[in-house]
């Protein structure tokens, strides 16, 4: 069962979005995408405080907006994987984050990739969308 609404972004350590994807099954709407990203950015402050209170990477749901929930995963280097969603599937979300995390590590290890810069690889995008279909 796929989430109808889901927006996924990766935010660098310096609070700059380096990857975005609308991954829900609902019809894509430009204004909705903007709203989703706005909500996710607003949640960054909460993440900032919460990240120092636990050594876990998966912070679960940390914020909500109407019936939408913000789940967050913070990597060792404080890159944040953030998902806005309407599903209630913590296990799926955790698996999604973990696998995207591994893709992110592989991207980061590439010496030619500058840490904190936009992830432009279309292969990365394809793989993230496939993971979203599998887990969300």
């Amino acid at each position: 069962m796929m989430a109808t609404t889901a927006c996924f972004i990766i935010v660098s350590r310096n609070d700059i979005p380096i990857y975005e994807a609308e991954v829900g099954s609902a019809a894509k709407r430009e204004d909705a995408a903007q709203l989703h990203q706005f909500i996710l950015h607003a949640a960054l402050d909460i993440v900032q405080d919460l990240a120092w209170t636990t050594s876990a990477m998966f912070l679960k749901a940390i914020d909500r907006f109407n019936d939408l929930v913000v789940s967050v995963y913070v990597t060792a280097g404080h890159t944040r994987l953030m998902l806005l969603h309407d599903s209630r599937n913590d296990d799926g979300i955790k698996s999604f984050f973990q696998e995207v995390h591994e893709l992110y590590i592989k991207t980061l290890l590439n010496p030619i990739y500058l840490p904190g810069s936009r992830i432009t690889s279309s292969h990365f995008d394809t793989k993230v969308r496939a993971l979203a279909r599998k887990y969300l």
Partner: protein
């Protein structure tokens, strides 16, 4: 002549001090990254990597000779086998094979079965002209020059560019005879 079988290289590698390949791979990555920043043009980076390899090669050859205990190779064919079977194994822990000899035995291909330099690498669109492993061609060129062989080395296959292997073409340009320091006309 010491035997240049594959196990000979394994035995040397087993006996030398080793480090985690990730330290090596990441350090090489940091070098390539520095060059891309300093030189901007991919073509210039290729040249600099080759030059750095050459600088390494002219030093590394003595280590190769000292620790492998091999003596002078009888011909270029034996030299190529030595690089592939002993050289790559001794330094990088990987095997390579020699293929594609030309008729007069002065040009061949060295195919790497593994390549620790590229473990994490993917070339983005902006770096498509980069020969990421160009340091290797410089190393071989430098090392051979120190034992009187002038060579020209080019990549004929590069997995980072979508090929099915890493293959260096090694072409012997000329074998400089050992110089007698006191020529009659001097």
């Amino acid at each position: 002549m010491a035997p240049a079988g594959p196990r000979f290289g394994d035995a040397i590698f087993a006996n030398v001090e080793r480090v985690n390949a990730e330290l090596f791979t990441l350090t090489y990555g940091a070098i390539v990254r520095q060059l891309l920043t300093d030189l901007e043009e991919v073509e210039e980076v290729n040249k600099q990597l080759d030059q750095m390899g050459y600088n390494i090669g002219i030093r590394l050859i003595d280590e190769f000779l000292a620790k492998s205990n091999v003596s002078r190779c009888v011909d270029f064919k034996e030299t190529a086998e030595m690089i592939a079977k002993v050289g790559f194994k001794m330094f990088l822990g990987v095997s390579a094979s020699v293929t594609n000899w030309d008729a007069d035995g002065t040009c061949c291909g060295i195919v790497l079965e593994d390549n620790p330099l590229v473990d994490f690498v993917e070339l983005p669109d902006t770096c498509q002209g980069l020969y990421y492993c160009n340091i290797l061609s410089g190393v071989i060129r430098g090392a051979l020059e120190m034992v009187s062989m002038k060579t020209e080395i080019t990549w004929v296959r590069d997995m980072l560019r979508g090929d099915d292997a890493f293959e260096l073409q090694v072409k012997l340009l000329k074998q400089v005879p050992e110089e007698y320091p006191y020529k009659d006309d001097e």
